[in-house]
Assembly symmetry: C2
Homo-oligomer: 528 residues x 2
Amino acid sequence: MSQPEYQSISPSDFFYRNREIAGFSNPSRATYTAVRELIENSLDAAETRLVPPEIYLRISEVADQKDTETKIYILRVEDNGTGVPAEHVPKVFGQVFYGSKYELKQARGTFGLGGTMAVMYGQITTHEPVKIASSTGGKIHEFVMNIDIQNNRANIFKHTVKENPTKWRGTAIEIQMDGDYSRIMYRLIEYLKQTAMVVPYADITYVDPRGRLYKFERGTTKMPPLPESVLPHPHGVDVETFKRLIATKKAKNIKDFMMDNFQGVGAITAERFLEMAEISQKTKPKKLTPEDIVRIVRTTKEYNKFKRPIASCLSPIGEELLETGITKELALTEEDYIKVVTRKPSTYLGYPFIVEAAVVTGRTIRKTHGSGITLYRFANRIPLLFDEGSGVIWKAANKNINWKTYRIESDTPLVIVVHICSTKIPYKSVGKEFMADQPEVEKEVTNAIREAARGVRGFMSRRHRIAREKRRLNIFNKFLPKIAEFSARLAEREPPNIDKLLSLVSADIPEVEKKLEEVPEIVEESSE
Amino acid sequence: MSQPEYQSISPSDFFYRNREIAGFSNPSRATYTAVRELIENSLDAAETRLVPPEIYLRISEVADQKDTETKIYILRVEDNGTGVPAEHVPKVFGQVFYGSKYELKQARGTFGLGGTMAVMYGQITTHEPVKIASSTGGKIHEFVMNIDIQNNRANIFKHTVKENPTKWRGTAIEIQMDGDYSRIMYRLIEYLKQTAMVVPYADITYVDPRGRLYKFERGTTKMPPLPESVLPHPHGVDVETFKRLIATKKAKNIKDFMMDNFQGVGAITAERFLEMAEISQKTKPKKLTPEDIVRIVRTTKEYNKFKRPIASCLSPIGEELLETGITKELALTEEDYIKVVTRKPSTYLGYPFIVEAAVVTGRTIRKTHGSGITLYRFANRIPLLFDEGSGVIWKAANKNINWKTYRIESDTPLVIVVHICSTKIPYKSVGKEFMADQPEVEKEVTNAIREAARGVRGFMSRRHRIAREKRRLNIFNKFLPKIAEFSARLAEREPPNIDKLLSLVSADIPEVEKKLEEVPEIVEESSE
């Protein structure tokens, strides 16, 4: 009869032991995840500052290595973001569960893990410290450090403060890590391309280990408005959150407390709500019993007259910018058709979200891709490249929509882009690869694709009509001279000059196309 | 130009904010996950004690609730396991990242999270404390407590010590939580049934909220041998682990250090390995430079003469027990065919693993399920019920195998059971629903299914031959009397007595079947 041994481990130690759940499962995947996490931090940092991001990424091999699949690479990412204040650098990159991503607003990062995990992976595979330089506009602080994994804190080997004559602002980080570049090469480029698609105001430069330069140039300097931090919506609150608010916020009574600490609760709503919860308006928040708190929280789920969650904490890309990004990265021409839709805000479990979708078809798509649907999936402007089949977007595009309704055959080349933004993306894993099913999200994604697809139906209808018209005119062109000649012979006359007649019916094709373009689109709703 | 705010959060707070990554995404799923985590802890605790588990699960509704989908349930799980020593109870159930699951051996739990997460979910949805009673054989300790989420520690409201006249040993836990029973009812029963399939030596009693009693009785009291804690295999070691060993273990030189702290490293292996790593055998471990350590760790990946990882840290179910469990829970009869295979140990990334597979076909399967393959997936004796299509087992069964080779048509009803056991299951998420692709694992799973399927091919061949033989004998039965009569008339004689002749060719069917059973199985290898 044995008794197990018990022990406590630090958050760093937990993720060190279980790094695959954060996306660091093997050298090739770790290379991908590290790049992604660092670039996302950089984009977030530049957007917070309201400047168009300028990202420089370089992956290089350490010299004189054996020719094995797994090699040591140096990963360097530089940005023009806010910069991390010197006192926070060791924690931001050396402590799991320390970060700036814990506010209620849309952000790429949500777990506050990525940067630290990249540093940790480098350290455990190469034992080399990370080098970080950062400036918030003043001096430049350089750190050489690694992570004390068992204690979840940074070991600082060197901290240098330098002058900053060029007033550089931003962060540069350099990590040595085991990687497998050849296996992940194409995914990395695809990731950068898709990032450029949804962040069309970013300049991204990438130098790969073979010295090749990839430039993803911005197509605009216009940026979507910044998301704001908001108060929680009462519908999404739980007992723990409520207790924390009571402990930290001052209010003379529960009515004021409700109005001050939740979004969209005015005097009348507060009164009616408290009446339903059977709590006196004048109760002091700190005097509420545990039972009172439970009753209040339960009532938030039942009271159905709260305003919808406000969406200023969200930052959709917008139809114009998304069209710019897609057109740029897919190199669309005038022979292609693109329809972009940004839906109105919706909510699931008290969290607001917005779905954006684009459907693209045309000659370029035919050339670029094979047959059928190519899906680009994004969540809070992060491209999701893995586990496509597990996610809600794949299901919406492939299962929920009857494409024939939109005059699209199953082998019609089609690009579908879906972007979901929310204060809370329902990721199923810390590796942020795909989203858990939420019925409200699935419905909105399906509707967004449908709305964009309706534009395509008009385009497809016109294309069919133009093709038919061309065929009709070709027939005139071919047979009218013959008929004229034959009739003339029958009547024993000279053949007439039919050029005038031909020019009447066979008005030039561009002109026909133009006229057909003006015909209004078919807009009847299908019954699917 | 704004600057983000930084903050640190506790591990409890992290999982409170991101509970969906641990499987607590909504009331129905949370009900399922809470049951699963508690039952798995109970099974682990009883197995550690080497007694056949006896688990009692009860889910009941709190009285006088409104008739909504989400209600408050009381979840109670009792076991006959080791019991948790009183001083550890508050931490085991009130602190994230505290547990007994951090050793290098096979266990159901691996994250040390599940029990605490169930307590936390109960607390944040109902604000009720958890009740825990536990005894390691002496007195019974009862706790009423909850979690201080911001500080990742237990709040103990009450601790009572009671006499234990019946010498009860085990743990009982009672959690109040928001749940949605009706949505998850069938999954819960399926989970218990599948658990009973791979733990055929457990007695599980379940009383559901409607008062219905489900009993899953053990089919045997035989248990597979306990897994042992083992030293790490050098191939799976990284710089961090190596550093930790150096810091805590004593050894007079690196050669002894290698032999003492890694499995399968004898004097000769240690010498050859250190020569390859260019480290003097006499170096004191604490004098190794960081570069030395990196070189040693790198060399572990390249040195290919280590022994295979030892598999005593694994505990496969075994062919006999697995057959008992499957036969019991699928209620197989003599008209069904089952083939169970336990493969030899393999390794991925330095972790040992064993795959077990069973293929079942026959009349019962035909009746129980629709057409095609029904897949039961298990990892370290945990049933995996969600996200089937994302996992490596689904891929192996549906994509990698040409079933026609085994005389199995695509609509032949077939049950496939796959169990993977390992010191490290490559789960993709903390929710433990499916496994990341590892080529070695995929290959072994495919081979295990193939091996079991070859047994089925023999069975199918015999079934085909029996059917053919029956048809042949039916023809004799039908036509011989006619022929006899006709011939007799032609010859103007009395028809002969053909009964004797018939009895010669149409030996009774059971006899034919028996003889055909004795024909050796076709064992040629296919070229698939």
